[in-house]
Symmetry: C2
Subunit: 326 residues, 2 copies
DNA sequence: CTGAAAGCGCTTACAG
DNA sequence: CTGAAAGCGCTTACAG
């Protein structure tokens, strides 16, 4: 240890943490030893002793484009704040994400490592001894959370399709334990209902937000004799997959099929054709969650505990009137 | 603690860790208490006591598309391995990334939290008490590392431009402390030299890989009276920025200007026009680094300590013969 | 101004 | 089969 170089560990600790009451010469001595050994105090040990680390945690179970956007927002909100970020991701040892991953990771970190945590799309209720903010929480969750106006966004995109003249509109849903997913489905149903179009259960497919889950579903929808003239996927990853499936099947978009997504990830604007979607600003979801957690940790938060960010319809080239109606 | 529910902490620990020599009835008792309290052993405390955590670390100083791809590769390599991942990112408290961030983060984690670490684009030499693998290391680094064939890739892309007929080819460099960056510049110079084209220092701009850094540089290059007919940016993020700057200036790509990048991030293929670039498979960089670290940690690695992955020229629509030569 | 001691939450020999 | 004690690397009262 650095203590061999200088004197007691107490003193080293004082120097490292800039406490008062150490003679200038001792400080210099310790500093040089630290320099020489490249010593850095262990995050683990100090976090165990103090009850505070100035480190925030984020737990997630995958790294998709969505996650990357969330992270950018989180990091920007934390910039220069003096709070670092630790992201915990597991190796999925037991396959298909054993239920309760978020709770397990959270408990391991919240022990003493982090002062608070952001949980990305948790699938159930959560408890923790330190503050938690959920991004796109589970349906029955009561923890502080940040979500987009999923219901309104979905309604808007489906109304857009209806206005174009579509009547048979397929829907590829996301993970049903998330409010985000449920709200989008309700928005879809609501828009149909308002337009007096009966919902056809055969046109509703159950995906899980991962691009891979959408391929067989989109294919099944599109190979039906009475295939839909438009498909609304509950997120962009699945919508982009639908675009590819349509291409494989020789269907032109938006000529033969209109496709719309949700999220507005960067790839959406760059797709061919560019994807009509709902901008829920995933970046802002991350940004606001981090801002809220930061204040919560400092005991300074006085806003609402459930934040809903506006969602905005973004019309691009992947949607157009159906052939029949042209 | 859970111990209030059952009996001694020793016994609880034995149950949690599945050690032998606990009566079935005690196990049941402790299990139920654990269940009731939602107890999870603290990662911090147990890591301090054992010297092993089955957690790997990754330190980075930003989240760009590049980082997201690296992470996907790392997670795939770790899938089902029983090794979790902790990513540490700092809030850049002192601005513009105080030199030595990688060493500081590493020391804090390597204390006892992680069994080994991946460091993304470190800017200097690194030392650690646990195994380390660098992705795109600093120029003078000797730690185990994974890099792409940067020199060959850059040579190939510049030769491609020369074959198209370009003679004035601009270059936007990356962070000069990284081998990746230096090698790409050398590849650029080499290709020019081989073709007997004198390098013009005025056409070489110093970027830092971030998209923002490239905007003023690209603009300066393109506003020169003797502007280049092609620009090769040291990574895709900067090449995509160059595409936008060209658009702003009313220059058509590839009509008025050819643009090429390096990396082949997902956005490259989706850009308008699609970007000619070098596929260095950032995903594989992450994948191989994780595979190597995993073996190193287990003491099973017997391959070379410096891995170079092949790079491949990907010609898309952003490069074409210059107008004059058409 | 400096150090010895206690304790953060665990795990691991060591006794019983 | 079970528990008291020591110790992982720190920090923080408490003495000197």
């Amino acid at each position: 240890m650095a203590r061999l170089a200088g004197v007691s560990t107490t003193t080293v600790s004082r120097v490292v943490n800039g406490r008062y009451g150490v003679s200038a010469s001792t400080i210099a001595q310790v500093r040089s030893a630290i320099e020489r050994l490249g010593y850095e105090s262990s995050l683990v040990a100090s976090s165990l002793r103090r009850r505070k680390t100035d480190v925030l945690g984020l737990v997630t179970h995958s790294f998709q484009s969505y996650t990357a956007e969330v992270l950018k927002g989180v990091m920007d909100a934390l910039r220069q704040s003096g709070l670092d970020l630790i992201i915990y991701a597991d190796s999925d040892l037991y396959g298909t994400y054993a239920e309760g991953w978020e709770q397990r990771h959270l408990s391991r970190l919240a022990g003493t490592l982090t002062d608070g945590c952001i949980v990305v799309t948790p699938s159930g209720e959560i408890r923790s001894s330190t503050p938690v903010v959920a991004i796109d929480p589970a349906t029955d969750s009561t923890v502080p959370s940040v979500t987009a106006a999923n219901f309104e966004g979905a309604t808007a995109v489906v109304e857009h399709l209806i206005e174009l003249g579509h009547r048979r509109i397929g829907f590829i849903a996301g993970r049903s334990e998330l409010v985000a997913s449920r709200s989008r489905e309700e928005g879809y149903l609501q828009a149909l209902a308002r337009a007096g179009i009966p919902a056809d259960p055969a046109l509703i497919a159950k995906g899980d937000f991962h691009p891979g889950s959408a391929a067989p579903l989109a294919r099944a929808l599109l190979e039906r004799p009475d295939r839909p003239t438009a498909i609304f996927a509950a997120n962009d990853d699945m919508a982009l997959t639908t675009l590819e499936v349509a291409k494989d099947l020789g269907l032109s978009v938006p000529g033969d099929l209109s496709v719309a997504g949700f999220d507005d990830i960067p790839e959406a604007a760059l797709a061919e054709p560019a994807l009509t979607t709902v901008d829920q600003s995933v970046y802002r979801l991350g940004y606001e969650a981090a801002r809220m957690l930061k204040a919560l940790v400092r005991g300074e938060w006085d806003g609402p505990h459930q934040i809903v960010l506006p969602a905005r319809l973004v019309v691009r080239r992947s949607t157009a009137p159906p052939r029949a109606a042209m």
